[in-house]
Every structure is written in C-alpha cells, then in structure tokens.
Symmetry: C2
Subunit: 331 residues, 2 copies
DNA sequence: TTGAAAGCGCTAACAG
DNA sequence: CTGTTAGCGCTTTCAA
C-alpha cells in the first residue's frame, strides 16, 4: 500500500479511501491510484485489515461429519446465507463427539472467527455452562434449553412421533426403530426414540425393546447392517423408523438384502429430508425439518449477535416446524 | 497480551514464548504466565499473528456446489488432510461456472488464504494465463495441461471409455449417454463423452446422436428427467452411461418411472464413486477416481508450494488412476 | 479533498 | 533465561 501510495504520489490514506470506495476523492486522484494499483498488482492484505478492524468476516461451522449428506446440505445452505451477509465460512469436523464440539468452541475463541455455528450432537444440558463464552455462538440441533447461547432445535421428538404415527396409520403394527448408540441423555437418538415410544403408546401398541436396534454410527453402512440384524432376529416386522435418512437408506438396502420388500413387506420412514431420498427406489418418506430455514435463522441470529444488535435480548430457543413427506417407502 | 504480561510481571515476549511452547522459559515463569492468562481469560489474537507471520494457515477450497455428494465427500477429505497438515479450510461455491472460478482466484489473492484448491469445471485451456498468479493454486479435475499451476486431473476419458466398454462387455448394444449441457471444449462432460464415443468405436458400434442426452445440470432431478426423456424418445436402449453418479442415480429413478428395470432392461453406470451408490437399489456401478488420493495429493502439493519447498520444480500435471466398480446396476 | 500520526496484537532479531 | 526495539499493513482521528 505504501508502494502504491508512492507510485501514485499520494498518501496511504488516500489509497485506502479509494479501495473502500469512500467519497471525497477527486476523480483524477482516484484514477491515478487505481492505475498504480493495477501496475503494481496490489492486493489488500486482509490480515492487516482484520487486525485493525478487530474482526475477520469469517464464521466457523462445526459439524459432526461433512460427508454425511445432511451436513453437506446444511453446510451448503449456511455458506450461501453467510455469503449473502458478507461472511465466509470455515468448516470444522467435530467427529460427532462431545470433546470435538468443546474443542471447536475453544478454538473459536482464538478470535479466528467472528462467531460459531455449532451443530451439536454430543453436548447435553450438563454442558450448559461450557457454552458461556464471550463470543457469539449459535447451537444447532441440540436440546440445551435455557442455555447461555442462541439455540435452534429440531423437532426431534415431535417429528419422530409423527413419523411413527404415520406408519401406524398405514397399518403397521410391529414397528422397529433404528437408533444411534446412546439412548440416554438428550442426544438426537434418545429424543427421536422418545417420539417413537410416545406414538406407540398413543396408539396402544406395546413397546418391545427387541425392536429397538442401536447402530454404532449414523451411516449407510451401519443402517444396512442394523436392518439385516433386525430381519434376522425378529419376524413380522412391518415398519421401520430410522433415526436419520442416511440410516433409513442403508436400512432399505439391508432389508432388500434380507429378502424383504419396501414398502410391500416393511414400510420405512426416515428423518432429515435429504435430497437423495426423493430419488431412491423406493423414494423415502421422511420428516423434513426445513433445513434451509434453520440455516437462514442460524446465520441471521449469529450475524445479529456479532453486530451486537440489541433488541435480540436474551438467548433464544427456537424449535422449527416440521413436515411429514410421504413417499413410496410408506405407500 | 500486554495485560497478561503486566499481570504476570514479565514482558510480552515471555508471554509469547510461553504461548508457543518455546524452550528456555523457567518453569516458575511459565506457571506465572499461564496463571495470568487463565485469570484474564486471555486468547491469542489470530489476526495479529497472521499479520506478523504473513500467512493465515487457511486454505481456500472452491467447488461448484457443496451439496452435490461428490463435492461433499471431496471437501470432507480435503478438510481432513488439511487439518493433518495444520491448515483450516474455507469453502467457497463457484456455481459451476467460469466466472465463479475466476472470482475465487481473484479473491484468494486478497491474501486471506495461503493457497487455493480449485475444483474447476468451467475453466479451459484458454484460461491458462489467468491462472498465472503469484499465489499457490492447485487445480483439481480440469484439464489444463502445461498450465502455470499444479493440476490433478481425473481420468475422465479413460474412465468413461472403461465404463462404456463394461456395458458393451455385458451385452449392451444401444447405449445412451447422459451428459452435461456443453460438449465442446474440455469440460468434464465433453471429456467423458469422448470416452464414451471411443469405446463405441473400438467395439464397432455406431454413434447415434439421438442417444446422447444433455441435461442442464448435473443433479438428481435433471438425471431423472433426462432418463425419462430418453425412455420416451428412443426404443431399445439397453445401457446408460451417466456423466456422474448423481446423474446416474437420478437416471435410475427416471428409468423406473418410465417402467424400465435396471439392470434387467437397461444397465446403468456412473462416474465418481460416491458412497451412496453402494447402497441404492440396485447398487450403482461406477468409475472410482480415488477421491481420497486426489484430496491427499492436492493438499500435499499445495502445502509444499506454500512452504516454498524446492524440489517440486515445475508445475505438475497428474492424472490419477481409476477403478471400475462393478455393482448390481450392470450385473 | 488530502495527509500525518498513531496503534491494532503479535513476534523476529538481538541485547542483556 | 528474559527484555527491548521495531514493524507487519491497514484505518481512525484529527489537522491542514
């Protein structure tokens, strides 16, 4: 910048004014500066600007795993909304555990980001105080109500209850659930499992622990293996509620491997509304939590916190709406 | 930091030494400093460190669209390799066009990133000179050979040739291709189309332009629509080569909608080796270009360029190996 | 409309 | 083992 100023015969301040399109610069001066910038191939140094400004225009996004379709779609939407608000997004993987999530928070405070969107699956109400940081954080998807930060939850229990009720509605009577490994606490699996259980109770159906199959990871592979295990162990299963769409897609594969047809023998419903579910054979019925809306709200809230927008007041707890999407897998 | 230094009764330099785990700090001093840091809730200011160091430990990754499974998986792998090398990753979307890609390069030069991995689909040999920047760039996936930057190409033509030959091997004689919109130049679609054509010629099969169906975007939706269009317009098609796995999955859906069975009536093969293809019904045969290997090489090369590692010499052009993965869709 | 001075927070180089 | 000096490149403030 010094160089440009010298080459243009002006002060660095004037160069700065030109770069930032500030008024009160004579046209001829502006032209001289632009010309010098061009000749010298000048680029602003973002690091210096950040230091001076005390912010980076970068937000962090911490998700369990980027290559799970749901998080890929979530990340894409967050990136777009952030960009629209003038922010770049750095993606971190937490590995779907509590430690990774806490680490993401700790890192963020190194002022590399102006704020953090944390898609949490491992944190629970007990970690409430650990979220008390002097730094804008929005937590997505986990149920830590009345915590110190803004929080956008999914309608986990309600959605799964609706999904299960939908199967019952379609005539299923022996409905299994494929869940994650941990049914204690307030993680996604236990909340969705609760919804499954509530729907059974509401319909007067028995809860059979043998029909609840935990899978170690929420992946296609584990979903397929879980479904095969289920098909081998339990007879007469006519419905499967999967904790996520990815697990559901794996399950449809596993059921086919076991010689069961979907929806003929077994109906299947997932949760998340990922795109590919609309195109599989059969297409997958699911609970759509409105991912784009969640992304928009998360970015919007975070940006307002970063800008210290008053009128936001206390941390907010938001639960979005959901929509049951009926497709072929429950037809 | 000043504050910490004052609180600990030492100089800022000593605080810096403690933070960076440098030797030659007496244990008692280190303890005092750590204590002061703790009490004051001190965090290093990354912006200042970046300014001082002239680098950010951040690399940019520009991809067409984050929520296409292939790019999601690619991004995940790049993030992991980058992290292992001590770098964070910012993801930018180019929107799959040349302008977006050039913009990504221009932005990067604003020294926000130490380097850029550009997954290019719109740039062509004509843009070779535009890549001549004083800034480490690795181009992924596009065929700009002998350009000014390192370049990791996919075996587009060879892979599609093998995929098509595989269909011929399986007895297909009227093989269609679903491609992207542009078959001129050196984009992914035209290169893969060339492989398709080569394989037909090698087998002595006629090339029928009516069997080449361009789709406007490489999405599930367009793949499905393209397949339906194909099924309506051409009779006796017994094989489909899709330009990507995503298009292939859409196509399997579209063929089913048209009453055609895969692989009974029509065999389908894709390209990219995305995970979900192993779990669909039927599972998708594909050309696996070794995405993780590409990601590792891209990050490795970029990091060496950033570190000005000599011994790398001239920009490199690398074409990875590929592997035909035979699954149910071509059984 | 333009410029001079000062400092954001950190660390390399060197001195003690 | 610890401290001093200086400067990375930018922009806010105030003066000309």
């Amino acid at each position: 910048m010094q160089d440009v100023a010298r080459a243009a015969g002006v002060s660095p301040m004037t160069v700065s004014n030109v770069i930032n399109n500030r008024p009160h610069v004579r046209e001829s001066t502006r032209a001289k500066v632009l010309d010098a910038m061009d000749r010298l191939g000048y680029r602003v140094n973002v690091a210096a600007r950040n230091l001076r400004a005390g912010r980076t225009q970068v937000i962090g996004l911490a998700v369990p795993e980027v290559d799970r379709p749901y998080y890929g779609e979530l990340a894409a939407r967050i990136i777009r909304h952030a960009r629209a608000a003038g922010y770049q997004v750095v993606i971190e993987e937490t590995g779907a555990d509590r430690e990774g999530e806490l680490e993401a928070i700790a890192w963020s405070r190194n002022s590399m980001y102006d704020g953090l969107i944390l898609s949490a699956v491992g944190l629970g109400p007990a970690d409430r105080e650990l979220l008390r940081v002097d730094f804008p954080v929005v937590v997505l998807g986990e149920r830590i109500f009345d915590g110190p930060v803004d929080h956008i939850a999914m309608p986990n229990t309600e959605g799964t209850r609706a999904a299960t009720a939908h199967l019952i509605d379609r005539g299923c009577r022996r409905i299994a659930m494929l869940t994650g490994p941990d049914l204690t606490g307030t993680n996604v699996s236990s909340l969705r499992h609760a919804g499954y259980r509530e729907a059974l109770r509401a319909a007067g159906l028995p809860y059979d622990a043998g029909l609840v199959v935990p899978v170690p990871e929420l992946t296609l592979e584990c979903g397929a293996a879980g479904a095969r295990r289920l098909a081998g162990a339990e007879a007469g299963v006519d419905g499967v509620v999967a904790v996520t769409d990815t697990v559901a897609l794996g399950a449809m594969r596993g059921l086919a491997d076991a010689g069961l047809r979907v929806p003929g023998d077994v109906r299947v419903v997932g949760f998340d509304g990922i795109t590919v579910g609309a195109y599989t054979l059969p297409s997958l019925s699911t609970i759509d939590p409105g991912t784009d809306g969640m992304a928009a709200r998360a970015v919007g809230l975070l940006v307002r916190r970063i800008r210290k927008d008053d009128g936001l007041g206390q941390p907010r707890d938001i639960i979005g709406p959901f929509r049951l999407v009926e497709r072929e897998s429950t037809a």
